[in-house]
Structure formats: structure tokens, C-alpha cells
Amino acid sequence: MFTARKKIQKEKDLEPTEFEDTVAQAFFDLENGNQELKSDLKDLYINSAVQLDIAGNHKAVVIHIPHRLRKAYKKIHVRLIRELEKKFSGKDVVLIATRRILRPPKKGSAVVRPRSRTLTAVHDAILEDVVYPAEIVGKRVRYRLDGSKIIKIFLDPKERNNTEYKLTTFSGVYRKLCGKDVVFEYPITENA
């Protein structure tokens, strides 16, 4: 795990790709270089990293983190994203926890499939991860005449400043991961 350059990364039987190596290297540099993040990053590692192209010549770096470390990552999320975006200049960084999706059990199989391993639950959780630190306040599904769906997500305007420029990236990332069209909005009246 913490070998020379393959620190902060773990995959089951698979060799990390070049891109993942660069991401891990960036993590390692941050841990050693940055004093404020050093203690937080000490036990953290990532699962994998993917680079996605978003419409509009933008690229996004999607980093998958282990589910157990989610809470620790959330604590340093804002600072970490800032540092990583400096390292990968011009690209938006998104952290998502690796979650397993199980298919619905066939008739006659005794295996219980927990709700948290359901496709809908995982997609909802991925959406929450994608837009962190902004919170999801409401969801609407709009069915068009031809049967296609758009999901409208309402975000809390509190974190508007540091997430507004990334909204198209969020839509693109979610589309790549889950195949659904998402539109983000800020509800006009904020107070509950």
C-alpha cells in the first residue's frame, strides 16, 4: 500500500494506470508538502481515478474513494479540492465513494439484497457525493412528451459561490456515471 510511489492507492489485483499514478503522486506531494492537510491525509488513500471529458472543452477528474473513508474525506473536502485543482489546473475534481450495485435477485435465490446496494440508492448517493459541499434540497423528475426524463435538482444556495461554476461538470460526470440527464437549479426562496 505505502510502497515508494504507489502510496495512497489500492486496487484489487489491478495495476494502477498512468493517470491514477499521477493522481496518487499529487496526493503524496500534498501530504508531504502541505502542512495543514498533512495530518488529515495521512491515512487516506484512493481507489481509482478517471478523467472525463465534459462538453465545452472541460475535463473532469473523478476520484473514487473507499466508502469507509468518506467521512474523513468530507471533513477536508473543500481544502483538498482546492489544492487538487491547483495541481491539475483547469480540471474540476470530484470525489465519489465506491459503492457496489447488486442486481435484483432471481426467483428462488435466497440472497437478501440490502437497499443500500440497490441501483437507485447508489445513484442517489453518487449524486450527493458529486455536488458536495452543496446540499441537495429537492428533486423533481420531468417526463417529457416523448417519454424522456430530466431530473431537476435543487441545491442549497449557501454554497452557491464555490459550486456554481462547476454545475455543467457535475451534470457531465453524473451522466457518464449513471446515464441520466440532470439539471441543477437554485430555488429562488431559500429559507425553509
Binding site: 423533481r140 420531468r142 417529457r144 412528451l145 430555488p187 426562496t189
Partner: protein, 261 residues
């Protein structure tokens, strides 16, 4: 008594109707067409059983009501919270011609408008248009906070509320009784009446979110095909373009005949 005994406990139909008839095979699809006030004219499809005996298909189709979102009719996502009801009035070929039958708001939009610390003002009025449609219009409005307001609430006094309500009904009556249904629908789409009310009441109390939230048709005049065609324009039957038969086909036909014979 042998007569009329076979009510429930039938002898288990062995060798009876094994093949259940598929009801959908006896139905036809029709296209729904919206009136010309909307930009997207083709709204969807419906099914109706084919004409059988005395039951005529178009009669079964005639008074159906379809509820469509305004975003689909105008191709404009900002108006997704308004729904328009269209009633099928006539059948021409494979097209069902509809006419305006009502307008509604989506419940989630309505619920999202209602908030604490402001006053909700509602008014409703029955109006008759120039072409004898009687409608009931419902208007809703909320009081607005001023941009430099410090006070927590922005309630209106009861007398102000009553004045605003009077203005609302006055404007709604003026707008609706001076035109026919087609023009009225054209006023509903860009929310002209709401803006009028908002402007006229600024002297009483500043309002926000002023909408005509619901329109019901109480009485419609007798069915007039001329009026309907005015709203629709003509639809050419989509028969397809006539293609010239290429030369090879004639030869192949000759061969096929020889083989068959």
C-alpha cells in the same frame, strides 16, 4: 329453475375460450393535435376501439381531456409548472383536434410559493368571453419584502387585501370579457394578466408571484366546426410523396410472374 342459474359457479370452462382476445388488437391509434396558439402542435397519441356496429370510434374519442405541460407545448422549460387541459372536439382522419379546456399549476410549484411571514391573497371570478365561453379564473399573489426591509414579516392589512382582491377581479374581468377564447389563451401563456395585476397593485402593496393559477371552463357554447378549424388550420393527410418506379422493378415483376406461372 334452470333459467338464469349460471351466475358464479360455472362448470369450469374446459374447451371453452382458450384464446383470450387481445383487446388492443381491436384499437386504433390517433394523433392528438393542439390548437395553433401553441408552438408544438403534435401532442401525443391515443387509442380507441374501432368502429363496431353502433359504437362509433370518433364518438368515443370526442370528449377526452388531455393534460399537457406547457413546457411541452411551447418547448420552453421555464413554463414546466403550468399544465394545459385540452379537450378532443373533433376527429379528422387520423387526427384528433383539441381545444383549450382549462389551465392548472403543478402542485409542487404551488406549494413552493406558499411561505411563512408573507400574506397570500387569492381571488376568483366568473367571466364570460365574447364567444360565450364562461370561465372561472383563479388568481394568487403574495406580498413582497422590500429590498431594504429589516422587519421580519411583510403582511398586508386586511383593507389592503380587500382592495387588492377588488383590483384583481376588475382586471381579470376586463381582460377576459373583451376577447374570445383564442386571444385569452394567448394571454395566459406569457402570463400577461398576472403582470397587469402586479403593476396595478404596486400602489396598494408590492406583490410578487402573481399568477392566474387555475382556469376552469364552466360553460362552452355549442360545438362549432368553423371555430375549431380557425384554431387549427388544415391538416394535410400524410399520404407520402409519389415516387417513380425505377426501371428494374418492371423486369423483376416479369420474372416473378414467369416463376409463379
Amino acid at each position: 329453475m334452470a333459467v338464469g342459474k349460471n351466475k358464479r359457479i360455472s362448470k369450469g370452462k374446459k374447451g371453452g375460450k382458450k384464446k383470450t382476445v387481445d383487446p388492443f388488437s381491436k384499437k386504433d391509434w390517433y394523433d392528438i393535435k393542439a390548437p395553433s396558439v401553441f408552438s408544438v402542435r403534435s401532442v401525443g397519441k391515443t387509442l380507441v376501439s374501432r368502429t363496431q356496429g353502433t359504437k362509433i370510434a370518433s364518438e368515443g374519442l370526442k370528449h377526452r381531456v388531455f393534460e399537457v405541460s406547457l413546457a411541452d407545448l411551447q418547448n420552453d422549460e421555464d413554463q414546466a409548472y403550468r399544465k394545459i387541459r385540452l379537450r378532443a372536439e373533433d376527429v379528422q382522419g387520423k387526427n384528433v383536434l383539441t381545444n383549450f379546456w382549462g389551465m392548472d399549476f403543478t402542485t409542487d410549484k404551488l406549494r413552493s410559493l406558499v411561505r411563512k411571514w408573507q400574506t397570500l391573497i387569492e381571488a376568483h371570478v366568473d367571466v364570460k368571453t365574447t364567444d360565450n365561453y364562461t370561465l372561472r379564473l383563479f388568481c394568487i399573489a403574495f406580498t413582497k419584502r422590500r429590498p431594504n426591509q429589516v422587519k421580519r414579516t411583510c403582511y398586508a392589512q386586511s383593507s389592503q387585501i380587500r382592495q387588492i382582491r377588488r383590483k384583481m377581479t376588475e382586471i381579470m374581468i376586463n381582460q377576459a370579457s373583451s376577447c374570445d377564447l383564442k386571444d385569452l389563451v394567448q394571454k395566459f401563456i406569457p402570463e400577461v394578466i398576472g403582470k397587469e395585476i402586479e403593476k396595478a397593485t404596486t400602489s396598494i402593496f408590492p406583490l410578487q408571484n402573481v399568477f392566474i393559477r387555475k382556469v376552469k371552463i364552466l360553460k362552452a357554447p355549442k360545438f362549432d366546426l368553423g371555430k375549431l378549424m380557425e384554431v387549427h388550420g388544415d391538416y394535410k393527410e400524410d399520404v407520402g410523396v409519389k415516387l417513380d418506379r425505377p426501371a428494374e422493378d418492371a423486369q423483376m415483376e416479369g420474372e416473378a410472374e414467369a416463376v409463379a406461372a
